[in-house]
């Protein structure tokens, strides 16, 4: 994992770890990992701490991540506790297999969950299943996400489905298709996160730009983490730092430029060839000023 802000850019969620090494990841990049689950009491303590320390509207918002929620024996208790503590938005980071039945989806929505984020590694079963190492995973995820969306629609409950797409050497050529698959499943938001330090951002940028365009024409917003502004000419609006300030998060590998305050910069570990390709945009000063303006309250408002 590189040193960028890779979480949702539109709404802020605090990650509450249900465990470690869970979720869906590219096995060709990371190999096999053993999922472990945390003690429910520790999870609940984290939930309460996150809610109590929430300091900015809108929220508190928590994301139950790190392990498959449906495998955690105390997930119902954790969600109930989050509701009682005052969480405004609760997100499950899940492979959606638990939503295979509408009854389960109804129960989850009834418990207070309004956001679900699933991970896709491919636009079709053969690609996704081979990269995550689980036969049938793609179909279960898509079907579960659709069921969740349909149940919410039937009960007139506002929910948001989002997709997380790790961008690596093995997924890069398929990411536009993945965005389309996410749209078909009902997602309104896709997070593309460049997570492979062996993948040159300059080589990845055209694919990512195409994925962003696929999102626009399918009414799905694609936000991108891990790509510096100088490689996103023409689609800067998709870069996550525009929506959440990442001041100080810029990787040391990248040289100083006018966008330091808003840009994630070059990936950590980037080699000389990558760095040589990075040049501040021609209007970097103006762009930095315009982006920074969106982080300031309007004139005359209280801070």
């Amino acid at each position: 994992m590189m040193g960028w802000e890779l979480r949702s850019c539109l709404l802020r969620f605090t990650d509450i770890m249900l465990g470690d090494n869970g979720g869906t990841w590219c096995r060709r990049c990371h190999g096999a990992r053993e999922e472990t689950l945390r003690n429910p009491a520790d999870v609940i303590a984290d939930v309460r701490a996150a809610v109590d320390s929430w300091d900015a509207a809108p929220g508190p918002n928590i994301a139950l991540a790190g392990a498959e929620p449906f495998r955690h024996p105390a997930i119902a208790t954790v969600v109930a506790d989050a509701v009682e503590a005052g969480a405004q938005r609760i997100r499950l980071d899940s492979d959606c297999s638990g939503f295979s039945s509408a009854t389960t989806a109804e129960a989850v929505i009834g418990s207070g969950v309004r956001h679900v984020q699933f991970t896709l590694l491919g636009s079709m079963a053969t690609l996704h299943d081979s990269l995550c190492g689980t036969a049938g995973a793609f179909e279960r995820t898509i079907r579960g996400a659709k069921t969740f969306a349909e149940v919410a629609r039937a009960s007139n409950t506002p929910v948001q489905l989002s997709a997380h797409v790790p961008v690596c050497r093995h997924t890069i050529r398929d990411i536009a298709g993945i965005v389309g698959a996410a749209a078909t499943a009902g997602a309104s938001l896709v997070h593309l996160a460049l997570v492979d330090e062996h993948l040159a951002p300059a080589a990845a940028a055209p694919w990512i730009g195409a994925a962003c365009d696929t999102g626009v024409v399918n009414a799905v917003w694609v936000e991108v983490g891990g790509v510096p502004f100088c490689l996103a000419a023409g689609w800067e609006l998709h870069l996550a730092p525009i929506y959440r300030s990442v001041e100080g998060a810029k990787a040391a590998a990248c040289g100083r430029c006018p966008l330091d305050g808003v840009c994630g910069g070059a990936p950590q570990g980037a080699g000389g060839a990558v760095l040589a390709a990075l040049q501040p945009p021609a209007d970097a000063d103006g762009l930095a000023a315009r982006i920074s303006r969106s982080f300031e309250p309007p004139a005359g408002s209280h801070a």
Partner: protein
């Protein structure tokens, strides 16, 4: 226009039993499901009260949905066998209506097709030029003009000479002079009190005044006029009583451009609404000038049974505010939202994407600022450059490109490219969904 064209029965054997020509009039609106057009209600109530039209003109109102297919719209109209069809045209339904007019003209060449409403009134001659199927356009306030037009049709007179009408004199498109606004709004019978509109749950609206104190450059609410014309307190109270006590109606609303126009007015509205609020009636989605809302005004809204309000800021960008002729005081805006939240009233804050003067980061800044304000509902829409508005008149000067056809959506501005406007639409939609998805 002679009476033979207006009244197809004239050539039938029944003619001898009818000493005077008669007209069957279909009034048609395309709106959201269940909504009964208040504009058509006013038109019909005014015309039905006219002594010279009484017993000679019969009305049918068709409230169809905005997503209706033009062929089915035409089908529904033709089943009524009208002599005259009047459409209420707004930017969101104009294309369907134009297509329906074309079908109607071919199916029933003798039918008289009249359009009115904010989409056509300000560009009446262009509308007639572009749509040969359309006979007449009513400009501006329609009640008196439409009634006089029906009188002219019955009398075989030249309809295009009625003040407020643009029509055809042979191949020529001609506009009669403008008609003065109706000074005494109480002279327009209430559609509710006259039984023209049956109140329905959450879909009925009361109008207490016409006009708007603001002059926002993208809005047609003030219709190029200055000043506010009010309905009497007695009339408004009677309409409130009618809606609040109608079977099955617990919630209704107001179409007024500013519900809290003055503190005095808000107080008497609260006085009128409070007894019904105590019995469980609720008022939803009234538009307010939020920068004038104090805890005291919020309490008055609460007393009136108001559960939700709608407001700006539309933009927080300084240049766009200036171009739009809007004022914005962030401190007062925040204070208004907070006062309403303390009173338990949901606030919907609206932003417009694509206002001239804004760049993409102004729009994003506005969304971020509203998120931080956490008003309850955040709603964005893309700028429509409506005919007759200041933006329409100044579009070329300020580099504003928009669709010539309805809905006149902005294509690009000097500050935001075509692609970025589309991106912002999708991004804002995702943000709104995420924001709305909460406990």
């Amino acid at each position: 226009m002679d009476s033979r064209r207006a009244s197809p029965e004239a050539s039938s054997p029944l003619r001898v039993l009818m000493p005077e020509p008669t007209l069957k009039v279909a009034l048609v609106a395309l709106n959201r499901p269940g909504y009964q057009s208040l504009a058509l209600g006013y038109l019909r109530a005014f015309a039905e009260a006219d002594e010279r039209l009484r017993k000679r003109v019969g009305f049918q109102t068709l409230d169809l949905t905005a997503d209706a297919d033009a062929w089915l719209v035409a089908y529904r109209i033709l089943r009524l066998e009208p002599d005259v069809v009047g459409f209420s045209v707004s930017c969101w339904n104009a294309r369907t209506i134009y297509e329906a007019c074309s079908i109607l003209r071919k199916a029933r060449p003798e039918i008289v097709i009249v359009l009115g409403g904010p989409e056509v009134g300000p560009q009446a001659e262009n509308v007639l030029g572009d749509n040969p199927s359309v006979d007449l356009v009513v400009r501006g306030e329609g009640e008196a003009t439409f009634t006089e037009l029906l009188r002219a049709l019955l009398g075989g007179k030249r309809t295009w000479m009625c003040p407020g009408v643009t029509g055809r004199n042979g191949d020529e498109i001609v506009s009669a002079p403008d008609r003065p606004l109706i000074e005494e709004l109480d002279s327009i019978p209430s559609p509710y009190l006259s039984g023209v509109i049956m109140p329905s749950e959450a879909l009925s609206y009361i109008e207490t005044f016409r006009g708007c104190p603001h002059r926002c450059s993208y809005c047609y609410e003030a219709k190029g006029t200055s000043g506010i014309r009010s309905l009497s307190r007695e009339r408004v109270e009677a309409e409130i009583e009618a809606l609040a006590t109608a079977p099955g109606v617990r919630t209704f609303s107001f179409v007024d451009s500013v519900f809290n126009l003055t503190s005095e007015r808000l107080t008497w509205l609260a006085d009128a609404l409070e007894p019904h609020a105590r019995r469980g009636n609720r008022v939803h989605t009234v538009e307010v000038d939020i920068e004038r809302i104090s805890d005291a005004e919020a309490a008055e809204l609460r007393r009136a049974g108001v559960v939700s309000v709608e407001t700006g800021p539309q933009t927080i960008g300084a240049e766009a505010l200036a171009t739009s002729h809007r004022s914005f005081d962030a401190d007062r805006f925040v204070a208004g939202v907070e006062a309403l939240k303390r009173a338990g009233i949901s606030v919907e804050c609206d932003l417009i994407i694509g206002l001239p003067g804004d760049d993409a980061f102004d729009v994003i800044g506005g969304l971020r600022w509203l998120l931080g304000l956490d008003p309850g509902v955040i709603q964005s829409s893309t700028l429509r450059v409506l005919p007759g508005t200041d933006l329409d008149a100044r579009a070329e000067e300020i580099g504003l490109l928009f669709g010539a056809e309805p809905e006149h959506e902005v294509i690009q501005t000097r500050g935001i490219s075509f692609a970025d406007i589309r991106r912002l639409e999708v991004m804002a939609l995702a943000l709104q969904r995420g924001y709305a998805a909460r406990l």
